[in-house]
């Protein structure tokens, strides 16, 4: 575990470009009901022939924000038939890779999740998938820019032992990717060594800390 103090306070904003600001506002403000909380209209400046632009922000809860840049006169860039407004991919790039980068927004419970499902299903951007894993439930769609959006709820709180397991997994991963032949088998073998070294002591410390 890192000895550094953990001082950050969540997402200030994540920013994406859009070529469809009207669709973007319809999706986030009018369909999902995310308030517009900030915007900047700026004349282009600098050496890169920067176009005039509008930078606008939606509140995604918890005072976190999802922001967009719209550049006047800018046309989408080439790059392949798949992807979104920011990244285009060739036909042979697999979907699991393209979908790996996405934004997941948290809701507290099933009622809230289903409320957003209803909002999306009544719109031009209905839910494409609703998946209930054993520990989380999520709905997915793509916004007007092609960005995949997930809304998710936890089915139960994360347990302390899952935090330990994550630490051991990541320490094992860092070790095996430094080696010659990274694989799941190598990771699971390294993780077994870390479990033998650290898991019993972790348990004893937890039990000692209990009142």
């Amino acid at each position: 575990m890192s000895e550094q103090q953990h001082r950050v306070r969540g997402v200030d904003h994540v920013a994406y470009p859009t070529f469809d600001p009207a669709g973007t506002v319809a999706f986030y403000r009018d369909v999902l009901g995310f308030p517009v909380v900030h915007s900047i209209c700026a004349a282009g400046w600098g050496p890169e022939r920067h176009p005039d632009f509008v930078h606008f922000f939606f509140d995604i809860g918890n005072d976190d924000r999802l922001a967009f840049f719209y550049y006047f006169g800018l046309e989408p860039f080439e790059g392949g038939p798949q992807g979104d407004a920011y990244s285009r991919f060739a036909e042979d790039v697999p979907l699991f890779f393209i979908r790996s980068r996405h934004l997941a927004i948290h809701v507290d419970n099933e009622e809230d999740l289903l409320d957003y499902r209803r909002r999306l299903d009544a719109s031009a951007w209905p839910v494409e998938m609703q998946i209930q894993h054993e520990t989380i439930e999520s709905i997915y769609t793509h916004d007007p820019n092609g960005y995949m959006i997930e809304i998710t709820r936890a089915m139960r709180p994360v347990t302390p032992q899952e935090d330990l397991d994550a630490e051991l997994t990541i320490d094992a991963l860092v070790d095996v990717v430094s080696g010659p032949d990274p694989s799941m088998a190598a990771l699971l073998a390294r993780k077994a060594e870390l479990i033998v070294e650290r898991a019993a002591a972790w348990q004893e410390q937890r039990e000692a800390a209990l009142p």
């Binding site: 894993h133 397991d165 088998a185 993780k191 033998v196 898991a199 972790w202 348990q203």
Partner: protein, 81 residues
């Protein structure tokens, strides 16, 4: 000897229970992990566990001297490496 570790969280408990039904399987604990051992292969029937995809395909925490030789919709099979 086959040694398989499974984290003790509610979703994984059926995996351990099903493994434990085999006569030569021993289940013990190391910290918050179940340590499942057997002299030969450990085979766990997925349908008997009731696990769906997310838990089933992520239930193996670690392996000592062992290798997964099957992990599909039917079964998880771990054998001495």
């Amino acid at each position: 000897m086959t040694t398989l570790y499974v984290l003790d969280v509610p979703e994984n408990v059926p995996v351990v229970e099903v493994a434990d039904r085999a006569p030569d399987v021993t289940v013990s604990r190391i910290g918050p992990y179940f340590e499942i051992t057997a002299p030969g292969p450990i085979v766990i029937d997925r349908r008997a566990t009731g696990c769906r995809h997310a838990v089933w395909y992520s239930c193996v925490a670690a392996l000592r001297g062992s290798a997964v030789t099957q992990q599909d919709k039917d079964a998880l099979r771990v054998e001495p490496a």
